[in-house]
Amino acid sequence: MNVSCPIPISQYPHILMAHGGGGTLMHRLLEEVFGKAFSNPILDTRHDSAQFVVPAGRLAMTTDSYVVRPIFFPGGDIGSMAIHGTVNDLAMSGARPLYLSCGFIIEEGLPMETLWRVVCSMRDAAKKCGVQIITGDTKVVDKGNGDGLFINTTGIGIIEHEQIISPQSVLPSDAILVSGDLGRHGMAIMAVREGLAFETTIESDSAPVVEPVLALVQAGVEIHCLRDLTRGGLASALNEIAEAAGVKIAIEQKSIPVREDVHAACEMLGLDPLHVANEGRFVAFVPARASARALQVLHGAEVSANAAIIGQVVEKSTPLVTLKSELGVNRILDMPSGEQLPRIC
């Protein structure tokens, strides 16, 4: 990765208000940083809006804003996260991501080198995901009015299949798969943010999940629902689906993959890995008869190599998610009631 800043920009080691002021400095910032890193034929026209041909079929569109402190964390940064998060949301419709817009809100005083590193990380992540950044926007806010850098990305993808992937397609007896081990992103951020030193460095799971999802589609696996596991973790995602689909969901604790270091960190802080955020994980609802094939396909992609079947949809009912504990007793798995707060003892 090229991390040294383009020369004219490095004359200004920090972002100034003028970089958002519409004059020469802003023009240079757009040209030398964003234009250079994200260059593609559509962006290179430098028009107020991007123009592109719409392929036949259904389109999927999504938007997400990214705020994370610190901007760089073990396993990722705000830039790669802003690409992964939005392409992952598109993938949850079984869509192939095509184009992204990105909006930057930059706090005055942000080191230019930091911005450049983030932009390079976005460029690399976009390349890896096969998407182009075709339009964007930059604003600079006064020092103290932002947290360094906020990024918004909007994505458009094409749905190249006939399936309706949504909570409304979920049926009783569907198998539920999770694409990998849980809780790494949340614990990685908490460890650096709070200065907690564990014996090992927990790296964020931030990654695109487009590849395994498109592999499922291409393998002809019937998919009823997909859901990206972000804030609120598995518990929130399953509760949201149970609610939207009007079903009872039952999962088993011992089937859910959680890495040992994440488990230990959660135990220490009194947190539940099922409530902790992820950035490269999803759940899939597929008919029971397709579950073995689905698992096989997921195991074929690196990002979902540890996928597991964790439970099933029990019946149409008032929405409920239950978890069978290690001791074999069922209990409710609830959404976390707010921010995850470490316990006292």
Binding site: L327, V329, R331, G338, L341, R343, I344
Partner: protein
């Protein structure tokens, strides 16, 4: 996970459960004192493995829950002051006082920060000499040594901008208060393992003698709790009342003596009000005279106040084991973890919150 999965083994758990079933001939009422144990019991469904005759009562051992409204209100008042950085363990932030909570004070501009150790607050005080750093010192004997160490270090460093709002509480006086109540139904106790890791278990011998009640020092993992229950049942069924130690891998009879010495140096035993229970004599720790300069209460000139609990809250009855959470009309309707009416719903370790989270309609 090493040293954890071993204590969550389903087959061994069933073995303990079968042994408890085999031994139990009469109904017995057992209290787990600590909120951490309540949480584990409900989370893992341990009570569902027990015979119907055994009733578990969830004790007052959640420090977040029993911190009185008056003290929370004082915390809110201090945290809102512009010169103050208010530091606390994470789960105190959501606890509502009579009007608001620390998270809302933070949203309105108060500098409220989560710390993982009171010593982090001392460090903040050193780094920010222009700010007043206040630490919210709550908890049982388990957290008291760390609080004491923070005060001790602050005194050594002669910090003038560091103080503590203290509401530390002690377990044995609470057991005494429960046992001396005419309504008491408790026939055996699981004592809180981590409290005993600090304090040892000498303090429980007089209680066992006076009230003829078995007390078993117990850990927090499912097998610990089942083993602890088995040991209490063995005593009850054979008519014994003794102090026993299930949690020998962490607890010794004398406990952690350097920690005890530090607590004794920095604190003095004081009467303390427990939310949901009322005042219990000699049940709290306050700063000893020598360290009075670190008392936030005095430093900020806060006056004593009286705040009444919402009338419909039955937390007091729940903490004494006279009612179960779902027997309260407000449970899950007017009273939820987002809008708790009383002590036992405020922290994830409170009995009502544990029931709400894990078995609302299961």
């Amino acid at each position: 996970m090493k040293f954890l999965d071993e204590y969550r083994d389903a087959e061994l758990a069933q073995k303990f459960a079968r042994e408890i079933h085999r031994l139990t001939t009469k109904p017995w009422t057992i209290m787990e004192v600590c909120g951490g144990q309540t949480h584990a019991i409900v989370k893992f469904g341990i009570d569902e493995l027990l015979p119907k005759q055994i009733e578990l009562i969830h004790g007052p051992g959640c420090p977040v829950c029993v911190t009185p409204l008056e003290v929370i209100d004082k915390a809110l008042e201090i945290a809102a002051r512009p010169e103050v950085v208010f530091t606390s363990f994470g789960d105190m932030l959501r606890v509502p006082g009579s009007t608001t909570d620390l998270l809302s004070v933070k949203a309105k501009g108060g500098d409220v920060r989560i710390v993982y150790s009171p010593l982090d607050a001392v460090k903040l005080a050193e780094e920010n000499p222009a700010k007043e750093i206040v630490f919210f010192g709550v908890g049982f004997e388990t957290t008291a040594p760390a609080t004491a160490m923070a005060v001790y270090q602050a005194a050594q460093k002669k910090l003038k901008n560091f103080s503590m709002l203290i509401s530390h509480v002690l377990v044995p006086p609470a057991i005494e208060a429960l046992m001396s109540s005419p309504n008491c139904r408790v026939q055996g106790f699981l004592a809180a393992g981590h409290v005993c890791a600090v304090m040892g278990y000498e303090e429980y011998f007089p209680l066992v003698k006076k009230y003829r009640v078995p007390i078993v020092v117990t850990g927090f993992e499912p097998l610990d709790i089942l083993h602890g229950i088995l040991m209490v049942v063995q005593q009850l069924e054979s008519g014994r009342a003794e102090v026993e130690n299930q949690y020998a891998r962490a607890v010794t009879r004398a406990g952690n003596q350097p920690a005890q010495a530090l607590v004794k140096k920095v604190f003095q035993v004081v009467p303390r009000k427990w939310r949901g229970v009322g005042e219990i004599p000699q049940s709290g720790l306050g700063l000893a005279g020598e360290y009075a300069a670190f008392d936030a209460d005095k430093k900020f000139g806060l006056t004593d106040r009286r705040v009444d609990e919402p009338a419909e809250c039955i937390a007091g009855l729940i903490l004494q084991g006279l009612k179960k959470p779902h027997e309260c009309p407000a449970f899950g309707t007017k009273c939820t973890p987002e809008h708790p009416l009383g002590a036992t719903m405020v922290s994830s370790e409170g009995a009502c919150a544990a029931y709400y989270r894990y078995r609302r309609h299961a």
